[in-house]
């Protein structure tokens, strides 16, 4: 899947997620797909602040607090390792 397609799919999923939440419908399928996308983005491009923020927000919507805390620790480690290289 190329980057443009992935971005289009992501935006579609985000809008679907927003609609489902507003209508009170089940939104966990959208969350699952979004988590997969963010996870693969992170693997492909490395830790980027924009992706990290979105990833954390999706985890919070999914109420997966344990994973969100793990991610925060992971990001902190990454920032520290980046600083040490400077």
């Amino acid at each position: 899947m190329d980057a443009i397609n992935q971005s289009k799919i992501k935006m579609g999923l985000l809008k679907d997620l927003n609609n489902a939440i507003n209508k009170g419908e089940n939104y966990f399928d959208y969350l699952e797909k979004l988590l997969q996308i963010y996870s693969s983005e992170e693997l492909q491009k490395g830790v980027k602040p924009a992706t990290a923020t979105s990833y954390l927000l999706v985890l919070l919507i999914a109420q997966n607090y344990k994973e969100a805390i793990n991610k925060c620790k992971y990001y902190t480690v990454n920032i520290k390792s980046l600083k040490s290289k400077l």
């Binding site: 992501k10 935006m11 985000l14 809008k15 997620l17 927003n18 939440i21 507003n22 009170g24 939104y27 924009a50 923020t53 979105s54 927000l57 999706v58 919070l60 919507i61 109420q63």
Partner: protein, 137 residues
């Protein structure tokens, strides 16, 4: 000075401010996600309240919604989350929400109390008869 530093200097260091700040982000993705997050958070808390409380005051709701409490349109929140008097949802501290059913219920009780006061001089049998008439209405 960075935004984070400015916020720190102004003591705006709570997590909620950080999340709300993302609403002003240039990224459409972040804006949608923050709106979704806040909406989902409202619904999740409402579900939790419904599961764990038969009645709840406005102050207790504030405890559940945290800083987001002041950003909520409560008339809309009550309708969206099916909080009505039939669910025994009560507001004891403030009269900012119009619970029409509650007011209607109060009027019926007030009227019944006034009628009972009127019949205080009557015998017990007469009282019972009148009271039963009142409640038939």
């Amino acid at each position: 000075m960075t935004i984070a530093k400015k916020l720190y200097n102004n003591n705006y260091t709570d997590h909620y401010t950080t999340i709300k700040m993302l609403l002003g982000s240039n990224s459409m993705e972040h804006q949608i996600l923050v709106k979704s997050f806040l909406k989902a958070y409202e619904k999740q808390q409402a579900d939790f309240i419904k599961e764990n409380h038969k009645t709840i005051s406005l102050m207790n709701i504030k405890g559940y919604l945290g800083d987001h409490f002041n950003s909520i349109d409560f008339d809309k929140y009550i309708v969206e989350n099916n909080f009505t008097l039939s669910n025994n949802f009560l507001i004891s501290s403030e009269n900012r929400i119009k619970f029409y059913k509650q007011e209607e219920g109060k009027d019926i009780c007030r009227q019944a109390n006034e009628n009972i006061k009127l019949i205080e001089g009557f015998s017990n049998t007469e009282k019972m008869r009148l009271v039963s008439q009142i409640f038939k209405k």
